[in-house]
């Protein structure tokens, strides 16, 4: 009983309340009157997922047929009926050399996902073997004051995910460190607010691509003569600059709209500016600051893909772009896998922020 209570609390806290309902189903705790609830929270979502996969399957099948017919038609016109017939049997046999290139079906995507995982396992094994092999040598090299030999093989899909997460968190941290203090100053002073307003209004809608180019221009010059790879630096700075606006605007709004009663209390008690900010203004604007941070993190994750692609910085964006350029048979399916991974990670990041928000904020109403 106690355990399920904590589970219920934790999942509700994280906005994953439906998990409890599923657990109740398996432990037989579901009452009859809960049936409607169960229908709404479990059955309908699962049905909608199945419906989605079904539609996707049919859609990809019909696209596949259109593409196949077109290919055969073209072979008939260019090379004659024999070639067309040969192509038809080739396509029907499922041979990978002649498959039409179109939207992959759910099953293709699933098998690509598994092949990506296999690939990851092979690469990890390689890497482990390499590290083991060079361990003794590296120790010697370090002792001699030389650089260690590092694994420079191709990164696996999972490595790319972690690289992307690193970039997004670095960018998010940068956005937080710039936008929150700046937002507090802007919110506190009407003069600063009016002098910064044009700045915010102009830069807020600028596209991630342009931010990337701007950061590229500056960082390239600053790092002149340095042999280090600047793609990570450039991409995380661009991500941060692109995504910080929501936090900036929300922080400024939160700070400038602190309940007048609290400000009056601070005035009557003659709190100093430092105390006023940390004891009154900041706690009371935390809910809005967190709303801003949540938007910032989701924007950061969204623009990351485009920026990695441009910056040629390793990560999911680059993965998607390379697969697209690659044009191999299962490239399209791998792109769809990346799409789902991006979506699911984005959702989990959002939940993570919600959990932190519920934790630190006094306002215990359910924020979605």
């Amino acid at each position: 009983m106690k355990q399920s209570l904590t589970l219920g609390k934790v999942t509700k806290f994280m906005g994953l309340g439906f998990l409890t309902t599923i657990k109740d189903l398996f432990t037989g705790k579901l009452e009859k009157e809960d049936f409607k609830n169960f229908l709404r929270k479990v059955v309908v979502p699962i049905a909608s997922i199945l419906l989605f996969i079904g539609l996707w399957h049919m859609g990809s099948k019909s696209l596949y047929n259109i593409e196949a017919e077109f290919k055969i038609e073209k072979a008939l016109n260019d090379q004659g009926p024999a070639a067309a017939e040969a192509l038809r049997t080739c396509i029907a046999s499922g041979d990978s050399s002649c498959q039409p290139n179109t939207l992959p079906s759910p099953s293709q995507v699933w098998s690509s996902y598994q092949s990506l995982l296999r690939d990851h396992n092979i690469i990890s094994a390689d890497k482990a073997a390499f590290i083991e092999k060079t361990a003794a040598l590296n120790e010697k090299r370090l002792a001699e004051g030389k650089d260690a030999i590092v694994y420079t093989g191709r990164p696996s899909f999972v490595d790319q995910i972690f690289r992307s997460l690193q970039t997004v968190f670095a960018g998010f941290l940068l956005a937080l460190l710039i936008a929150v203090p700046l937002g507090i100053f802007i919110g506190l002073s009407p003069t600063l607010k009016s002098s910064f307003n044009w700045f915010i209004q102009i830069f807020k809608p600028v596209s991630p691509v342009v931010w990337y180019l701007l950061v590229f221009m500056i960082v390239k010059t600053l790092l002149i003569g340095s042999s280090e790879d600047s793609s990570f630096t450039i991409s995380f700075i661009s991500v941060g600059l692109c995504s910080m606006w929501a936090t900036l605007v929300n922080t400024a709004m939160g700070v400038s709209s602190v309940d007048k009663d609290y400000i009056n209390v601070a005035k009557v008690l003659k709190l100093g500016p430092f105390q006023k900010i940390f004891k009154v203004v900041l706690p009371s604007s935390l809910p809005l600051i967190f709303t801003g941070l949540k938007i910032t993190l989701s924007v950061a994750w969204m623009v990351l893909i485009a920026i990695e692609l441009l910056a040629q910085s390793p990560g999911l964006g680059l993965f998607v772009w390379e697969e697209f350029q690659n044009g191999a048979n299962d490239s399209n399916a791998k792109i769809i896998v990346a799409m789902f991974v991006i979506g699911i990670i984005g959702f989990l990041l959002d939940r993570l922020m919600l959990t932190i928000q519920n934790w630190v904020s006094f306002d215990k109403t359910d924020a979605i």
């Binding site: 609290y262 209390v265 009557v268 008690l269 003659k270 105390q275 004891k279 009154v280 706690p283 006094f362």
Partner: protein, 275 residues
């Protein structure tokens, strides 16, 4: 109308009669003007009021007559347009902890516990005391308002009445020279209001801090006050009448209600308000 004017002249001669060493709070020719596009809007004009040390004054008047404006001017939260306000002969400049305020809304920081809310003021006023001394002060006043079990409860978890108790504790704990109460019980139901009036008067009997309280409630005004100040309706509101309440202290609700003069006082106030 003529009676009001007559009363006013009477008050001026009467209030200026206090020996100046007994005066805690002195409002002199106080004026409040809000400029509007259609010309100045005069809320208060030539308002004169003297309040003695250890006196409890309630102010009663119709909504919008400028009572709250006057109180927030005394608190220093609203700039003075003309005249001046002095505490113990010194003109006030802005807000300060020598004038504690109990607001209409409890105005507690909802993310702090009851104790932290009281300590916020105590730490500010007694910076030289040790941490445990300050804690003791805050706890003492929370005990006085009956919250000894709620020290570590967050303000957002307390009921409105409990929150206002914390508000009372916070105001008394900073040991102000003047206590300003802006309809502190206006938002509460009548049972809770009665409870809080008892708590307030109990602490006040001990501390005897000069108090100015705005209220809409005639019974509350009589029960708590040494003097009830009646304000005329705005614009250009001023003091219409002053009624001395001669009940001995400490008072109980029962003794007040059974007192022969109670209905006389009550009639006087209601006659003024319905005038």
């Amino acid at each position: 109308m003529s009676t009001i004017i007559k009363n006013k002249t009477k008050i001026i001669t009467e209030t200026s009669g206090f020996p100046s060493k007994d005066v805690m709070l002195d409002l002199k020719d106080l004026k409040k003007i809000y400029p509007t596009p259609k010309g100045d809007y005069v809320v208060l004009e030539d308002l004169n009021l003297q309040i003695r040390k250890e006196e409890f004054v309630t102010i009663i008047g119709h909504s919008g007559c400028g009572k709250t404006t006057m109180l927030s001017m005394i608190a220093g939260l609203n700039p003075i347009s003309g005249g001046n306000i002095s505490v113990l002969g010194k003109h006030i400049k802005g807000p300060g902890p020598d004038r504690g305020v109990i607001f209409q809304a409890p105005s507690l920081m909802p993310w702090m516990t009851a104790l932290q809310n009281v300590l916020l003021g105590v730490n500010q006023v007694f910076p030289d005391a040790t941490k445990s001394q300050r804690n003791d002060v805050a706890k003492y006043y929370l005990q006085k308002v009956g919250l000894e079990d709620a020290f570590n409860k967050r303000a957002s978890e307390l009921s409105q009445g409990m929150q206002q108790r914390v508000g009372i504790a916070r105001a008394f704990a900073i040991k102000p020279k003047v206590l300003l109460l802006d309809e502190p019980f206006g938002m509460l139901d009548s049972l809770t209001r009665g409870e809080l009036q008892d708590i307030l008067i109990e602490i006040w009997n001990k501390e005897k801090i000069t108090a100015v309280m705005i209220t809409h409630d005639v019974d509350e005004a009589i029960f708590l006050a040494d003097r009830v100040v009646m304000m005329t309706s705005g614009p250009k509101a001023k003091i219409g009448d002053v009624l001395d309440i001669d009940f001995e202290r400490p008072r109980t609700r029962k003794s007040v209600l059974e007192h022969n003069d109670y209905y006389k006082y009550r009639k006087h106030l209601i006659d003024f308000l319905e005038h």
